[in-house]
Symmetry: C2
Subunit: 336 residues, 2 copies
């Protein structure tokens, strides 16, 4: 298997991306193609003992920065690591592209170079969301701010395909984010999508409220990219804030400090459960190629784990499965 890694993508690239890439090549015994400015990447690579590893460099002279406008940047920078990486996948020279860079840029590059899967109206960005009972798979988390009901239906089909075949969740429970349990609750968009989901043939459990997501009520959580983005960022921010407040309060008392030292193992476990580095990355679903998006603040471990996710997605035949799922889904819809 060949993984194309955006060596210039993420807040701490290229050092952290290269470190994670080398780590993954060693841990998984796979080829990791490092894409970026050859000099910069070579300099980082020289820090590691890569004997016996397959970590070739493919030169790309440009970089799409985090704050750039996605579509404009992709059009202007045809020799960027993102565009070069997508082209490797397109030509079959890599099985998957992994990037911790500007997620809108990854989406735009994927759309321009790989295109959508036939029948998919809008690709979606996904994320793995840690819950009290394990995890759930949420989409869209930012690709499509204004959606139509049929997009949400397709997100559900794609999410279920991924959850079943890559994450190994049996008969995943699908929920749609709303502001109340009853099917009459929700925006016009959500109410219409709810009715479509009821007839979808999926294991649809209905509306999930904000509180139901961290409680693990659904395995696949469907929402528009605006709401999903707010949920994902709020959850990360709130978890960080809460752990910060607890730490701060604990520090205020000398006795509490002893307490904190003693309960540190428990805290570390909680942090690990919430740490996006453990999940690594999540797929861009609906484009005609396997693309994994990692967190912009990814450390080396997160990059390594994102490559692990990439490997699972390729082995799980992610794109083929979605194609089959969509066909199945459309069939069910036509029959109903």
């Amino acid at each position: 298997m060949k993984i194309a890694l955006d060596a210039m993508g993420g807040d701490y690239a290229p050092p952290v991306a290269v470190e994670g890439g080398v780590w993954a090549a060693r841990e998984y015994g796979i080829e990791v193609i490092l894409i970026g400015r050859e000099g910069d990447v070579q300099r980082e690579l020289a820090k590691y003992d890569t004997s016996g590893l397959s970590v070739p460099i493919v030169h790309a002279s440009q970089v799409i920065e985090m704050e750039e406008h996605p579509a404009a940047a992709v059009k202007a920078k045809q020799d960027s690591s993102m565009v070069v990486g997508m082209d490797l996948v397109k030509r079959g020279e890599a099985d998957v592209f992994v990037s911790a860079g500007n997620s809108g840029g990854v989406m735009a590059a994927a759309l321009f170079r790989l295109g959508r899967i036939r029948g998919i109206k809008r690709p979606a960005l996904s994320t793995i969301y840690p819950t009290t009972t394990g995890l759930c798979f949420m989409l869209d988390v930012g690709a499509n701010t204004d959606c139509k009901p049929e997009y949400l239906l397709q997100f559900a089909y794609m999410g279920v395909a991924y959850a079943e075949r890559v994450l190994g969740i049996v008969n995943p429970r699908v929920g749609i984010v709303s502001n109340g349990e009853e099917e009459t609750k929700g925006s016009i968009l959500v109410q219409e999508a709810h009715q479509m989901l009821k007839k979808s043939g999926l294991n649809f459990i209905g509306n999930v409220e904000g509180k139901d997501i961290p409680a693990g009520m659904a395995d696949v959580v469907v929402t528009d990219g605006f709401t999903g983005n707010v949920i994902a960022k709020l959850s990360e921010g709130l978890a960080t804030s809460l752990l910060g407040i607890i730490k701060e309060e604990v520090k205020k008392s000398p006795l509490a400090t002893v307490g904190a030292l003693l309960s540190k193992p428990a805290f570390d476990k909680v942090k690990k459960r919430l740490d996006y580095a453990e999940f690594g990355g999540a797929p861009l679903l609906g484009v005609d190629g396997v693309v994994i998006v990692a967190h912009g603040r990814s450390n080396a471990k997160a990059i390594k784990n994102a490559i692990g996710v990439a490997r699972q997605a390729v082995e799980g035949r992610m794109v083929e499965i979605i194609k089959e799922g969509i066909t199945g889904g459309l069939k069910i819809k036509e029959e109903s």
Copy 2:
């Protein structure tokens, strides 16, 4: 000052509502009118020593339950505690109505009986949101699932009026919830509202992302009722889940248990900072009367504190202030 309290509203009513009402009458030295089924309320009231307190009962034979459809229930139950309470405010026999009941029902009863403030397109449900630096005031959290940009502008004016005059926040920073910092980010609704807010004359700091809300980046957070509801419920659920996970992990190790005992004071402080009972309730803004909505799961302390909020809102001349703010706001808009 006379407070009309929905003695039948909330998951634990009437016992908890009556307890909170008596508590508030004693603590604030004000009249608390208990509205509900006379026999039920009298039975609860008999449990307390009310000598020297002013806690009259006003009979209302019906109750709007938590799961009822708001508008239908209000129309069908004209002798419900909510409708009777609104009528007391309407006739000037009470200064404010407080309820922990079905919030949609409170909204519907307020709209039918008190009506909107002239010039206000849509009333909004608000909430006090605890942040790492203190608190922020967020609206709408559920009254209007599908909004127009001008509704969000009005929510901002009302929110600022309340934050300044009742919460005592000087020149409150206003943010609009979006999926990115840049003003080009967001749904069509948010992008249009952003442009209006820029010209509003308010202290508008631009878009706030999910992570910025718990971090306390804005004092007044404006959003549509769908997103606001998801944010409020997600935050409450996530905080509960997180504290639960920490507790669970702490329990797993004998040493950690000692640690937990020692750091308990810190945990208790964190819980207190997150506890909605401390905030009590938040106003329904934009209706022509002061109405405070408390959490459905309110305990007696939350009811007591909601009455405290009601008192502040009346003293702060909430309705008059909004009327003035709206006038000012509309002026600014016309000039721009």
